[in-house]
């Protein structure tokens, strides 16, 4: 039988080259070795891979010699029968052999083609591609889109969704979002201060409207009690004045970006980190109060910028005239301590006499020291007592603070002294009259007695008639005593201004009203307790004051011997400077109490004390 073998190669231009050979015999072999009739130079093919045998007209069988399979029409087999008339495709390694019949001769033909490249490198390669990382890493474009979308969804869409699905927090003091993480918390720019920690889950309690900066009404939802208005907003803005230069530009920008001026949050900045809310700097005060008079013409306030070098003299609110009744009804006015300041409180009281280290007052104090605990001489606290906070002094009270020495006794019954009633002139008069009405004049020892009588009946009668006259006029002696007590040298007159009787001969003396001032500085704060290391007299020049009308308040100069400005500014050299911001004495949201800064300081102090005490207790129990 004759087999025709056609080896087909390709030229570079793609056209085929066919080399035909003819093999005679009943069988031919397929393999890599050169002596095979069908020679396949293919390393995937065994040297003698298979044998082809004739099996009748146009029929052949193919059988593997090496035990290695081959493909027939795509199926892997080790032997196969093929009808050449119908044709078949054999595959050995990278070679394809088409089986068919030659049209002319009718011999079986094998058309051999190499379909796979010799090696991987011989395959077509895109040199613009293989030397890059394309295909080895996720593409830049896809990952750029992926990451961008991930960020937009998680950091923009989710927070907006969280905002859109919750809007009932605004202006609701007690409204809260459910616990857990809400998308808009991704937007937090810093932790809230301790004071607002409870709001950290409820962004919308402050950020009420989107794209609208936080407004005061959100703050005032909770701060109904403690946010006292400083001054009307229009006056505040006027006193701040028109900014110039860069400040004007900044205002233009913030107004353009919908940030109106004068909001709470301008001073009370938030999201500055967990911890105490930062106290406001005095620059915020000085923005308006420095040179305010030139911008707010009708203000009564003086300009101030820094305690150390730019603060007006104190202007305490002093009594103009005492009135009867409540002290706070008395007319008062503010006067500057630059003038010689006086105040008429209706009392006569020479401080110098009482504080003198020698003399009658000191001597009397020494004598009474056993009973009242006075020292070698009288000192301020013998008469002036602080209130319960130690901030200010209680009004001086006659019975408690003066009567130790200034006794109003007028009679003694048994061991008990009867005293005139303080503050009640009518009762004084009545008591004195009662005294003279109910007590006889002292009986002369020679009356009705023989013991010490001058000889002669006439003397005895004279004594009797004198006594009878004394008894007769005993009642009228009362007026004389009343006049005495209200007149120079009398108990009332020593300390009080006495109003004369309504008509000559009458005794309806009156006492001028008395009022005491418990607080002179109403716009500022001063605590005596904070200054208890100091002697009273180092600020109050009481030792040299001989007139009760002297206002013994220290001026700003005295304060400045210790207190300097926020950053240390001072007009004179201060050895132990106490840096003092506006907020040490003044409060933006002022009430009658101490300023916020001092209250916070007190809170901290008491916390430290409590903690210290607790530590002591723990240590104590441990040692036990």
């Amino acid at each position: 039988m004759t087999f025709i073998v056609r080896q087909i190669d390709y030229k570079a231009d793609g056209s085929e080259i066919v080399r035909q050979s003819v093999a005679e015999g009943d069988e031919i072999r397929i393999g890599r070795k050169g002596d095979n009739a069908i020679h396949l130079p293919d390393l995937a093919v065994n040297p003698e891979h298979a044998v082809v045998r004739a099996a009748g007209a146009g029929q052949i069988t193919i059988e593997s010699l090496s035990g290695q399979p081959f493909d027939v029409d795509g199926r892997s087999v080790e032997s196969a029968s093929v009808d050449a008339a119908k044709g078949a495709e054999l595959r050995f390694g990278g070679h394809v052999i088409a089986v068919g019949l030659d049209d002319g001769s009718g011999h079986v033909t094998f058309s051999v083609r190499r379909t796979e490249a010799v090696s991987d490198s011989a395959e077509e390669k895109d040199t613009g591609f293989i030397y890059t990382l394309k295909g080895l890493l996720p593409g830049k474009r896809i990952s750029a889109w992926g990451f961008a979308i991930l960020v937009l969804v998680s950091c923009l869409a989710w927070p907006i969704w969280a905002w859109a699905t919750y809007d009932d927090l605004a202006y609701q003091k007690d409204a809260e979002r459910p616990a857990g993480f809400h998308g808009d918390k991704l937007w937090i720019s810093g932790d809230l201060s301790l004071a607002h920690k409870s709001l950290s889950n409820d962004c919308q309690s402050c950020h009420v409207e989107p794209f609208v900066a936080v407004r005061d009404d959100a703050c005032l939802t909770c701060h109904t009690e403690d946010a006292h208005e400083h001054a009307p907003l229009d006056r505040q803005l006027a006193s701040r004045g028109q900014p110039t230069g860069f400040a004007a530009f900044r205002r233009f920008v913030s107004v353009s970006f919908n940030k109106p001026e004068g909001r709470c949050v301008e001073c009370h900045t938030e999201h500055e980190g967990a911890g105490d809310m930062q106290p406001t700097q005095q620059q915020f005060c000085a923005d308006c109060h420095d040179g305010m008079k030139s911008r707010l013409k009708d203000t009564e306030l003086m300009n101030a910028a820094d305690f150390g070098n730019s603060h007006p003299q104190f202007r305490p609110l002093v009594l103009v005239q005492p009135v009867r009744g409540a002290d706070d009804k008395a007319p008062r006015k503010r006067i500057s301590l630059d003038q010689r300041a006086t105040e008429d409180n209706g009392i006569k009281f020479p401080h110098d006499l009482h504080l003198n280290k020698t003399g009658g007052v000191a001597q009397m104090g020494r004598r009474l020291s056993g009973k009242f605990g006075f020292g070698q001489n009288m000192v301020c606290e013998d008469c002036h007592k602080t209130d319960k906070n130690g901030t200010r002094f209680l009004p001086v009270n006659m019975e408690e603070n003066c009567a130790m020495c200034h006794s109003l006794s007028f009679d003694k019954i048994g061991g008990t002294f009867r005293t005139l009633r303080h503050g009640e002139p009518d009762m004084v008069r009545a008591d004195l009259r009662a005294f003279y009405r109910s007590t006889p004049p002292s009986r002369p020892i020679n009356l009705g007695s023989l013991a010490r009588q001058r000889p002669g009946a006439v003397n005895s009668r004279r004594t009797a008639s004198d006594y009878a006259r004394a008894v007769n006029f005993r009642g009228s002696r009362a007026d004389q005593a009343i006049r005495q007590v209200f007149s120079r040298g009398g108990a009332c007159f020593d300390c009080h201004q006495v109003t004369p009787p309504s008509a000559p001969g009458r005794v309806d003396f009156g006492i001028a009203p008395v009022a005491q001032t418990d607080r002179y500085m109403h716009k500022g704060w001063f605590s005596h307790e904070a200054h208890d290391d100091e002697e009273c007299t180092s600020c109050h020049l009481a030792e040299t004051s001989s007139d009760a009308r002297d206002l013994l308040l220290p001026g700003i100069k005295d304060c400045r011997t210790c207190h300097v400005g926020e950053s240390g500014a001072s007009l004179t050299k201060v050895t132990k400077p106490v840096e003092s911001t506006c907020a040490m004495c003044h409060d933006y949201h002022a009430d009658e109490g101490a300023p916020w800064l001092m209250r916070e300081a007190d809170k901290k102090k008491s916390k430290t004390v409590t903690a210290g005490a607790a530590a002591k207790r723990v240590n104590g129990s441990a040692s036990r």
Binding site: L43, S121, Y131, K140, L152, C155, P159, R250, E272
Partner: protein, 295 residues
């Protein structure tokens, strides 16, 4: 002209040469390095001098200023990708742009960080800052590679082009294929495995580390040598030729793989730099929107 003739002869001045070999780092005598340094110093000084109360943060007027400058820079820097696809000569040449891109991009470390006021947290604002830092640092790595690797690339290439490299490989493969024809099936299979293996395969890690533990060429060579070690020398062993061809192929592959490694390093940073830039643009948008949303 007489006056010209009487004029003293001046020494010929050296012509100002315009060197085209300056890289983008040295462009115009480090012009952009100087500008970026000036910018950083100005930002640092103003940060120290301007007293923002209670402390520096992105929400003060100063913070907004830095933020605006930073955001503008980021957007401009991103435009290098657009710009490099449209080449123009001169002062605004691509080299100038790249130089400015590098140095202004580095200055963003200072501007962006000062903008934060060093207040970082788990939020969109810090995310934007972190992405910015990742982009800048990956760019820094890129600059380092660009400055150090091309020398090695050139040395390794030994004046071969990439096409020549693969052609050499193809030629060796063809020769190997021919030389292996007389071999036993088992030996032929070893050679075949070397031929069939993709010289560009192995994945990203193999390429960047230049470590190919599954290299069939090396395996075939060592196995064939092992087998041959026990065979008598006949002087006409086809394995001799195969062995020498495999050795040459391995040397060529070594060069190719070194080339691929260096090229991978020159490209890999961009796979972080570019996607992170787009993530940054998204985070920056979210950052800005969030600030105004909860104004």
């Amino acid at each position: 002209m007489a006056s010209a003739a009487e004029a003293p002869r001046r020494k010929t001045r050296e012509r100002e040469r315009q060197s085209s070999h300056d890289g983008f780092l040295r462009y115009a005598g480090f012009r952009w390095l100087k500008i970026a340094t000036l910018l950083c110093v100005a930002c640092l000084a103003s940060y120290m001098l301007i007293d923002v109360q209670p402390r520096h943060n992105g929400g003060s007027w100063y913070g907004y200023t830095l933020g605006t400058i930073g955001a503008g820079l980021i957007i401009w820097l991103t435009f290098l990708g657009v710009r490099k696809r449209a080449m123009t000569p001169g002062g605004w040449s691509l080299k100038a742009w790249t130089s400015a891109h590098v140095y202004l991009g580095l200055s963003l470390i200072v501007i962006g960080t000062l903008h934060t006021g060093f207040q970082l947290g788990w939020n969109v604002h810090t995310l934007a800052w972190s992405l910015m830092m990742i982009v800048i640092l990956s760019g820094l790595v890129g600059i380092y590679f660009y400055a150090t690797l091309p020398q090695g690339l050139s040395t390794n290439r030994d004046e071969m082009t990439e096409t020549q490299m693969i052609d050499a490989l193809r030629s060796l493969d063809r020769q190997l294929h021919d030389a292996a024809q007389p071999l036993e099936p088992a030996q032929a299979a070893l050679v075949q495995s070397s031929l069939e293996q993709d010289p560009f395969g192995g994945g990203f890690l193999a390429r960047i580390a230049n470590k190919y533990p599954g290299c069939k060429t090396r395996a075939a060579q060592s196995e064939l040598r092992r087998q041959r070690a026990y065979q008598p020398r006949t002087g006409n062993d086809p394995l001799d030729k195969v062995d020498s061809l495999l050795e040459r192929k391995e040397a060529t592959m070594g060069r190719l793989r070194k080339h691929l490694q260096i090229k991978a390093m020159l490209q890999v940073w961009l796979y972080i730099h570019v996607p992170m830039t787009f993530a940054l643009l998204a985070a920056l948008s979210a950052h800005i929107v969030s600030v105004f949303f909860y104004w």
